[in-house]
Symmetry: C2
Subunit: 228 residues, 2 copies
């Protein structure tokens, strides 16, 4: 469903002293329906990899393919449309709009895409994530874990083909975390979705089918069926 070939990402002026090589030749194939965990030390390039795979940032060199589409060839408009129709993204720092309520934040991508919302599914999501009584509140009136769950609902509402989740349980207690992870796992099976999840928590990784280990912008290891 999504793959990168020799992905290189350098921040800053190439060759300058402050340039940072965040991705140093990453090749990774994620088949349709796989739940992949991406792990590695802080600063190893995990968020950068996720953003480039989702078309939120350009690579310095290398390719990203989503479905059968090479992102390199797309115009901004085509890229935006692809993201809106096929991708759900949970950001490490949530990126909720502060002036909108939780419910408005959750519905925003569907509104922008002009697609109708499956109201039954909306209710299922809200119940599972336990945020039903916070829907009319703005992000500043929510706890950290509540904001994270609102970000999860937003990413999952349109049942996107590929879900990218950047540290989705970082602010959740173990019970809420296990609920979300179990739910992500069952979507892979029920709806044939593909999930790429960054986590530094081995327990969260144990919900995935496979884990890859990133260090200094390169994949150094991969584990099938990672268990605790």
């Amino acid at each position: 469903a999504v793959a990168t070939y020799n992905a290189v990402k350098i921040y800053g002026k190439i060759g300058s002293e402050s340039a940072v090589t965040a991705l140093n030749g990453v090749s990774l194939e994620v088949p349709l329906g796989q739940f992949l965990a991406v792990m590695g030390p802080s600063g190893s390039g995990k968020s950068t990899l996720l953003h480039c795979m989702a078309g939120l940032d350009d690579l310095t060199s290398g390719n990203v393919i989503i479905g059968s589409t090479n992102l390199n060839g797309l115009s901004d408009r085509q890229l935006t449309r692809l993201r809106r129709n096929s991708i759900g993204f949970m950001f490490q720092s949530f990126n909720l709009l502060p002036t909108l309520t939780a419910e408005q934040n959750i519905r925003l991508p569907s509104d922008l895409a002009g697609s109708s919302v499956d109201e039954k599914w909306f209710n299922t999501l809200i119940d599972l994530l336990g945020i039903g009584d916070r829907l009319k509140h703005r992000p500043s009136e929510l706890s950290g874990g509540q904001q994270q769950r609102v970000a999860a609902a937003r990413a999952l509402l349109s049942k996107p083909t590929v879900v990218f989740a950047d540290e989705p349980t970082g602010n959740l207690d173990s019970k809420a975390g296990a609920l979300l992870l179990g739910f992500l796992r069952s979507s892979v099976h029920e709806h044939g979705q593909t999930i790429v999840m960054v986590t530094h928590d081995p327990n969260a990784a144990s919900f995935a089918d496979k884990a890859v280990l990133l260090a200094d912008g390169q994949i150094i290891h991969s584990i099938e069926s990672p268990t605790q």
Copy 2:
């Protein structure tokens, strides 16, 4: 060093339908030199408790005492001065200033307080936290875990009497997390600091001397020497 007595915090108009009772009568004494962990489900009031104990937010009723000072009696100016001189705070969402570099963010509280920085200690902190090569970058150019470590350096630089840390390892891999926690633990011993740390990670709590469990705005349990 810090205590609350019957702390109640209600958000929104008391009695209105959207009012949230975040703290429902919390009494907690943290003796000088203790490393206390505050745990509980997402939304149970942990961040609210921390903010009220640090004087960042008012209680609806009840008292907070820092040292021998009751926060209720203080003017805004007195409260600001107390916070600047005696308190270090690590926020759940870091709260770094986006227009300042990492180094400027770290030094800001000391600059505002007009106090000089122990440069040897600054270097010790930066080395331990592994952010030496990111000092000239702004928060948007840092990974999530790097931002968290910058927030830690900022809170610890002035060696404050009381350190409040809201989920300080949420974005760190286990190695970086253990480094930070071990470091917090040794400050308690070496500098006689008091630490109140919110965490939902039992492994992080095991570094503390004592843990209390919050649920629906009340302390329902306390554990001496919490181990895994």
